[in-house]
């Protein structure tokens, strides 16, 4: 998982306007692999389950319906790639920026002082691929600041750094 899309400077989708004083970090390529795997594991059996009974009962022409999930796979393959490229984050002096989304773009800014807790989670599938997810909670439940697909080392580094910065700048409600 060496290549993590470590693009420097302004990102392609340019949701960050003012040039941040840090590097935009991408997420691990393994995340893309996991997501594509999940896509294949759900849609390919679905295609088979749709096509086979139709072929046997109604004839081969009807089995073309099985192509629909396959088309979804083809589209999803590319969409997941674009989505994966859109995930990026940068640690600035006073806040963390998370940018994501292709069609619906979102950029979240969380000042370090507002962080209430930092959570690192890793499910079984994510662990298998060496991934972890960092989630930031502020006092507002609507704050949506999650970075999926980090290498465990990077996740821990980020967690420690965020906790440290949050502790130094913490503020009440």
């Amino acid at each position: 998982m060496a290549d993590a899309g470590q693009s420097t400077g302004s990102p392609g989708n340019a949701t960050g306007a003012a040039e941040p004083d840090g590097r935009w970090n991408g997420v691990e390529r393994a995340l893309l692999r996991v997501r594509r795997l999940v896509l294949l594991c759900t849609l390919l059996p679905l295609a088979a389950v749709t096509a086979l009974p139709l072929w046997l009962t109604a004839g081969p022409a009807w089995a073309a319906f099985g192509l629909l999930p396959l088309a979804a796979v083809a589209w999803g393959w590319g969409a997941l790639g674009r989505n994966w490229r859109s995930w990026r984050y940068v640690e600035r002096a006073d806040d963390l920026l998370i940018s994501r989304g292709v069609l619906w773009r979102q950029l979240t800014v969380v000042p370090y002082g507002r962080m209430q807790l930092v959570e690192v989670t890793s499910g079984p599938l994510e662990r298998r691929y060496g991934l972890a997810r960092v989630q930031l909670h502020t006092a507002a439940a609507t704050t949506d600041a999650t970075i999926p697909g980090l290498a465990p080392d990077e996740a821990e580094r980020l967690r420690d750094r965020l906790t440290e910065l949050g502790g130094a700048r913490s503020a009440g409600l």
Binding site: T15, G16, A17, A18, D21, R92, A93, D94, D95, L103, W104, R105, Q106, L107, T108, V109, V110, P111, G113, R114, Q116, L117, T138, A139, A140, A141, T142, T143, D144, A145, T163, G166, G167, A168, R169, S170, A171, G172, L173
Partner: protein, 542 residues
């Protein structure tokens, strides 16, 4: 932003950290912790309970199942508040399954009835008694502790410096019985963390003591500090309230639905029962929009005191809320269509930790000028006309994103608040103080991108957010960063959490306190003459 700014922010943050409480980073803003002592005496009582009134009892007895827990008891009327529950349950069951109930009752003989009562009554009485016996509360220097539970013991420790509001409620029956319930609004408290019921006088005295302690008044003075004097700022007359309700669209809309829907249902199905089934919820809606609101908002009084804003209201159920300074997360000013010619507005406010059932009304209806006066007390330094005027309309091309509605959208920012405007028929202006902004979001959908527009949303601590919709994309990008900067620095100008400890040790506090304190109001010191000498000697953390 430059490195130098980062440095200053760092120092500011560190200075605040020293005074605002070292627990902030670990416990966060959640002011309430719940422990289950589980028989170990150490967990339930922390060492600082030394000055508590009832701490003569040793900590060990608190968790012994047979002993009387330390602290004060609730009012003896408390067990009776659930007395209606079995009756209601029986009624609901018989309504649900009428045939079976009747069958049962024909089989019941006097002997069975006596036997049932002989078992049920003592059990219910014992449950009521023990649940009352094992519920107690205790005020320490820093916390309010509530112990409950007969089998599963539960101790809630509510940190006083995190108090967002104090509510005293007196429902109709409680007023008859002369009792009241008291609740501390703290992030993380649940409905069961309220003290129901206390004697009326006791509740008021407890409120005064809790506020005094939360304000940072010297611990030994707090129990006798008494209620801080208050001054009435606004009282909504019955006439204004009724006129306002009559001119609201919601009540009439609900009434129209009440007339239309059952008629349509009856015409379509021909069944009276179906029409009735449609009528009942509709009537409920009408009641909620008219009569219910009238009862709730009757005699609405806003008063100010050094402990913050006091709201009193209600015709049958009297309710009182005290909102300490600097607790308001967001304010919304609504202007329904028919109120505009009279210049009336409705003001709602959001406080962290307040229950979801609460509407969070500040003023149900008042002329704009009077509302502005109250608003200036809630958000010091905010001028209603100025804030509303700061909202800049969206670019004209936004009409392709939100036809008609685009005219209502607007956004602006003053020195202290983030302002958004929306709505055509009912105009809404939302103000979020920069200091309360938790995170900032830039959002853009595909169609907005085509129109070179974007939304900027800010999240605040009362689990809400407001969005400046359909801004020009360049402006929105700049705005995200500017707002993040403002909310970061805004925090430093806010008053101290313990609002009476202005001169404690925080170098920035005196200046910021006077700026953030009650402007034009009697100052904190003048308001509580009794405690003023003690104010400086108070250790910041109590």
């Amino acid at each position: 932003m430059s490195e130098a700014q980062g440095e200053t922010a760092d120092h500011g943050g560190a200075a605040r950290e020293g005074t605002a409480g070292a627990g902030a980073s670990s416990t966060g803003t959640t002011g309430s912790t719940v422990t289950d002592p589980g028989g170990s005496p150490g967990t339930g009582t922390s060492p600082d309970s030394g000055t508590s009134p009832d701490s003569g009892t040793s900590p060990g007895t608190g968790t012994a199942p047979s002993g009387r827990p330390e602290g004060k008891r609730l009012h003896p009327v408390t067990p009776w508040r659930r007395a209606w529950a079995p009756v209601a349950g029986l009624v609901a069951f018989s309504a649900h399954d009428f045939e079976r109930t009747r069958e049962w009752f024909t089989h019941l003989t006097t002997g069975w009835l006596i036997a049932a009562f002989a078992v049920l009554l003592p059990v219910a009485a014992a449950y009521g008694f023990f649940s009352w016996w094992f519920t107690s509360y205790l005020v320490t220097d820093t916390e309010l502790r509530i112990r409950t539970g007969l089998v599963f013991r539960r101790t809630a420790h509510i940190r006083l410096d995190r108090v967002q509001a104090v509510d005293v409620g007196r429902p109709l029956l409680a007023r008859v019985a002369g009792v009241a319930k008291l609740k501390l609004d703290v992030v993380g408290t649940e409905a069961k963390d309220e003290l129901a019921f206390l004697g009326e006088r006791e509740a008021v005295a407890l409120r005064a003591e809790l506020l005094a302690r939360a304000a940072g008044i010297a611990p030994e003075a707090a129990p006798e500090a008494g209620e801080a004097p208050s001054r009435e700022v606004l009282r909504v007359g019955t006439r204004t309230l009724v006129t306002g309700l009559l001119l609201m669209g919601t009540g009439w809309g609900a009434l129209l639905a009440t007339l239309l829907v059952p008629t349509v249902v009856y015409l379509a199905s021909g069944s009276v029962l179906g029409a009735l089934a449609a009528l009942v919820p509709a009537l409920g809606g009408v009641w909620a929009a008219t009569g219910g609101r009238f009862l709730k908002e009757y005699d609405w009084t806003v008063a100010e005191s050094p402990d913050g804003l006091r709201l009193d209201h209600g015709l049958l159920d009297r309710e009182h809320a005290t909102v300490p300074p600097g607790r308001v997360q967001s304010v919304r000013i609504t202007e329904p269509l028919l109120w505009r010619s009279r210049g009336w507005v409705r003001v709602e406010l959001q406080i962290a930790g307040a229950g979801k059932d609460k509407g969070g009304v500040l003023i149900p209806v008042a002329p704009r000028g009077e509302a502005a006066v109250v608003l200036a007390r809630v958000l010091p330094g905010v001028d209603l006309a100025g804030a509303a005027g700061a909202a800049v309309p969206v670019p004209r091309r936004a009409r392709w994103c939100a036809p008609l509605l685009w005219r209502g959208y607007g956004h602006g920012a003053t020195d202290s608040v983030f302002v958004t405007r929306s709505g055509l028929i009912s105009r809404r202006v939302t103000l979020v103080p920069h200091a309360k902004v938790q995170s900032v979001r830039f959002e853009q959908g595909p169609w907005e991108r085509r129109m070179r527009l974007a939304d900027v949303a800010v999240d605040h601590g009362a689990n809400g957010w407001t969005a400046a919709r359909l801004r020009d994309v360049e402006e929105a990008r700049a705005l995200v960063h500017a707002q993040a900067e403002r909310s970061r620095t805004g925090r430093r100008e806010a008053g101290p959490e313990r609002w009476m400890t202005g001169g404690g040790g925080d170098a920035q506090a005196p200046a910021s306190e006077s700026a953030a304190g009650c402007e034009g109001a009697p100052g904190p010191a003048a308001g509580r003459p009794k405690d003023q000498p003690k104010g400086d000697g108070t250790p910041p953390t109590g």
